[in-house]
């Protein structure tokens, strides 16, 4: 390691410029075969953003078709194929790997002061599984057009002419990519925490990643089994799911949602972890209720396993089962509420800086709260009978998945962008993008709640005329949302070319990843960093825009938390 030979620098903030992980080795192969978690994280970032771009364009195509109640430019079959592609790409190729695989890979080892994840080769392997799964999945879906929806409900999926077997194999491969990532994080966090970093001195992003990894490892194999059984059903007619061979289609729904409901928490928990970091750093205020936020992540991960039945309230499950699932569903709302209240309390008496990541984080709280509260209508059995499978549900889960996960992901990307690329972005245009996303998103999905309670069913290529006004509002909102996301992409790309050089610690954060230079050297830290309280801002001093925030030597021990 060349760094060992260089003169020790006067502070661990600085490292040799040539060791920068982006340029320490050159050539395509140095990226393609890299074991550096930061490079793998960046490759994932490019991958998931490309997947998001494709699925986002498809969303705009769907919204455009829905401008008119009758056919405009898509036949019903084409519409069904496009919504299947939109949902499947968004879920399997974007949301599930977005935060854990892209940001998590970059951040977990650096936040731990470690050199890499526990199993770097497995990490690279999981990236290539993602690529292979993505190619398999996309080519299968494009070959003849999959039209089952991303849920593959039987018996439609055993009857349709679409390439169900190939697509499910793609999902199977992607599932293993997710399992390996989760496994890697569990082992890394368990075994590689630096001396002094006890569980309750871990940044909350790591708690969230840990909770997510547990779900990935425990739930994803069930999805693997389910899609294998589905393929066996289709090819060999073994008679598990298809009533034509004495199977029961509702069994498929149980199997599918046993994974796919916990998967909702794979999608949202890491975003919650990002918000915990961003709220604390940009309010320059120690996080309120650290232990409550940490425990609520674990509580969500555990309760998340017990609520899958609420996807099946109208499927004819036994009454007692239905009632029990309704009760369990409400339990999961409490830890989410606890998190929101603690984030708000973190702002109290802090120093709030409305940077781009902070604006996205506030936007997250606004949108996620709507997403969470609208879950109450769907958890309650009598209102769900009316709202199930309507646009109300579509709006609800988009508030959680887009308003929550996507906006949280953007908050995280902007927050750690200086660390990942070494460049500062334009705050002005970043905040402009946030406003467009916020206004566009609400205009898209608020009308859908009204459509849903008026009875507009989901997955409809054509609809009755009375819904046209609301559909048109929604479509205009989708264009605004799309515009906002393009602005965000432009801000990031522009910063790569002409952004100012980022200091090691531009925001004044106390977690370890801000102690190494921006971007970090390939070995992350020359010497093991000093472990501080992750949210203790007292020893940090702002120098200037070029040097950012720096640690000053503490002469007095850190003060004890204040009880109010």
């Amino acid at each position: 390691m060349s760094a060992v030979a260089t003169e020790p620098t006067h502070s661990h903030y600085e490292s040799n410029e040539a060791d920068n992980f982006l340029i320490n080795s050159k050539g395509v192969l140095s990226w393609a075969l890299t074991l550096d978690h930061k490079r793998i994280g960046l490759m994932y970032l490019v991958g998931v953003m490309s997947a998001f771009f494709v699925a986002g364009i498809l969303a705009l195509v769907l919204r455009t078709e829905l401008m008119t109640p009758d056919q405009w430019f898509l036949t019903t079959q084409q519409y069904n194929q496009v919504f299947t592609l939109h949902g499947a790409i968004m879920v399997f190729l974007f949301i599930i790997p977005s935060v854990p695989a892209a940001l998590g890979n970059f951040l977990v080892p650096v936040m731990l002061g470690a050199k890499d994840v526990a199993f770097p080769r497995l990490n690279l392997g999981s990236f290539y599984l993602w690529v292979a799964g993505a190619i398999f999945f996309l080519s299968a879906m494009l070959y003849t057009g999959l039209d089952t929806g991303w849920t593959f409900y039987t018996p439609y999926s055993t009857q349709t002419r679409g390439p169900v077997v190939a697509a499910t194999m793609g999902v199977f491969i992607l599932g293993f990519s997710s399992i390996f990532t989760g496994l890697n994080f569990i082992v890394t966090i368990n075994t590689m925490r630096p001396p002094g970093m006890t569980w309750f001195k871990m940044p909350l992003f790591l708690w969230a990643t840990y909770a997510t990894a547990i779900i990935q490892v425990l739930a994803t194999p069930v999805l693997g089994i389910t899609v294998l059984l589905l393929a066996a059903e289709r090819v060999f007619h073994i008679g598990i799911f298809d009533p034509a061979y004495n199977g029961d289609p509702v069994v498929f729904q149980h199997f599918f949602w046993f994974y796919s409901h916990p998967a909702v928490y794979i999608m949202i928990l890491p975003a919650m972890g990002i918000i915990s970091e961003v709220m604390s750093v940009h309010c320059h205020k120690s996080i309120f209720g650290y232990r409550f936020i940490a425990y609520s992540s674990i509580a969500i991960a555990l309760f998340g396993f017990l609520v899958w039945g609420h996807h099946m309230f109208t499927s004819g499950m036994a009454e007692v089962t239905t009632i029990v699932f309704s009760a369990l569903t409400f339990t999961v709302s409490i830890p989410s509420a606890i998190k929101v209240f603690n984030w708000l309390a973190t702002m109290y008496k802090g120093t709030v800086q409305l940077t781009t990541p902070m604006c996205y984080a506030l936007s997250f709280i606004f949108l996620f709260t709507i997403g969470g509260l609208t879950g109450l209508w769907l958890g309650a059995l009598s209102t769900d009978r009316h709202l199930h499978d309507t646009y109300f549900v579509v709006a609800h889960f988009h508030y959680v998945m887009v308003g929550g996960t996507l906006v949280g992901f953007l908050s995280g990307v902007f927050h750690w962008w200086p660390k990942m690329t070494g460049k500062m972005f334009s705050e002005f245009w970043g905040i402009v993008s946030c406003w467009f996303v916020f206004v566009g998103f609400n205009l898209t999905f608020l009308p859908q709640f009204v459509m849903g309670s008026r009875g507009m069913p989901r997955r409809y290529a054509r609809y009755v005329e009375e819904f046209q006004d609301l559909h048109q509002m929604s479509t205009v909102g989708a264009y605004l949302l799309g515009l906002g996301l393009f602005v965000a992409l432009g801000v990031l790309l522009h910063s790569l070319r002409s952004g100012k050089k980022a200091p090691a610690n531009p925001w004044g954060a106390a977690t370890l990843e801000w102690q190494c230079s921006s971007p970090p050297p390939f070995y992350n830290f020359q010497s093991p960093p000093t472990v501080n309280e992750p949210y203790d801002y007292l020893p940090l001093v702002y120098r200037d825009a070029d040097r950012g925030w720096e640690y000053v030597q503490q002469t007095t021990p850190a003060p004890k938390p204040v009880h109010v």
Partner: protein
């Protein structure tokens, strides 16, 4: 009615901004719980947003202001904001279960309607044997749907009645309701079922009792003229969902109009004449000969055992009558004094 100056079309005068007409006994209960949750959520949401905006302004970074960065904890506060939401969701849960139990418990006396769903339409069969593609029910009497699906999952959803239940192939599922408002309401399929899912919609007619009885007696008698009988079956047995009766209009399968007597190319390259035998075979064994250009269309189910012999003949005559692309009153027997019985 308008929202922010944008007019919102409301097809039904009984509909409100949030809901369709309250046309069944469930509507009041569902709507009131909906509005309770709305107000509870509005209060929480307002508190959260007001606090967020207020803190963002009051504690914003500015010259001369220094915030406190130290950790704050307050266990009493944590307990309060855990326990209060918990109590509220327990109440919502209980209200939801109460309404649900009502939906699961039909009264002793119901009018039972057999519902058959298939891709992509509905058939309703009444106690006197009448069948119809739309649902007809009397006001102020409980009706119970006995529901079966022939192929994929479907879900019977009547927004004006606030109820919905899936139809699962291989099982019978039930749903009941008691209409309290006469009129015509939408009936949707709410569970995705393939190509024409969004066209799997029909109407519910809520009649006064006398009108219902009259309609029921009328509906039990299929037309005697065989072509009219064929058309009657075409509308009720599910043919209409995939086969149009206009020339060259393709829905899923080939149009019925203008094909009888023509030579059609099959997927294998062979030409087959569309005659009585071909039509009969296509109804009973739909996959035996597939026409060129329809290899990738959704599979047609067999009607073996679902149509009687004279019904297949009636359908064949109907398709024959459509060979010039239209039906005349003469063909439908409307000018006959005495209708001809089916062959």
């Amino acid at each position: 009615m308008s929202l922010f100056g944008i007019p919102l079309l409301l097809a039904d005068k009984n509909a409100t901004f949030w809901f369709p007409a309250k046309a069944s006994t469930f509507a009041e209960d569902v709507d009131s719980l909906y509005m309770y949750i709305m107000w509870i959520s509005a209060v929480f949401f307002a508190l959260i947003v007001v606090a967020m905006v207020w803190f963002a302004i009051k504690y914003r970074r500015r010259p001369g202001y220094e915030g406190d960065s130290r950790a704050l904890h307050n266990n009493a506060l944590e307990i309060i904001w855990t326990v209060i939401p918990t109590m509220i969701v327990v109440w919502i849960f209980a209200k939801g279960v109460y309404g649900y139990m009502d939906m699961m418990r039909p009264p002793a006396e119901t009018i039972d309607v057999n519902v058959t769903a298939r891709k992509w339409n509905w058939t309703f069969q009444y106690p006197n044997g009448a069948i119809s593609p739309e649902l007809h029910v009397p006001i102020n009497q409980a009706s119970r749907m006995r529901m079966r699906s022939e192929d994929a999952l479907h879900s019977l959803f009547i927004p004006a009645f606030r109820c919905k239940t899936d139809l699962v192939p291989g099982r019978v599922t039930y749903m009941w309701f008691k209409p309290i408002l006469t009129g015509e309401y939408d009936l949707f399929c709410a569970e995705y079922c393939g190509d024409e899912h969004s066209n799997m919609i029909t109407k519910v007619f809520v009649h006064e009792d006398a009108d219902y009885q009259k309609w029921l007696a009328e509906a039990a008698k299929p037309p005697e003229n065989p072509v009219a009988h064929g058309q009657w079956l075409y509308e009720r047995m599910g043919c209409k969902a995939c086969h149009s009766s206009e020339p060259d209009k393709k829905i899923v399968g080939p149009s019925f109009a203008g094909t009888y007597g023509t030579e059609q190319k099959m997927a294998g390259g062979k030409a087959v004449k569309v005659d009585e035998n071909y039509i009969r075979e296509s109804i009973l064994e739909p996959q035996k000969k597939i026409r060129e250009g329809y290899q990738n269309a959704s599979l047609m189910p067999s009607f073996q055992g679902k149509l009687k012999d004279n019904e297949i003949t009636a359908l064949t005559l109907y398709i024959e009558a459509l060979k010039d692309g239209q039906l005349t009153d003469d063909e439908l027997g409307k000018n006959d004094d005495k209708a001809v019985a089916p062959k």
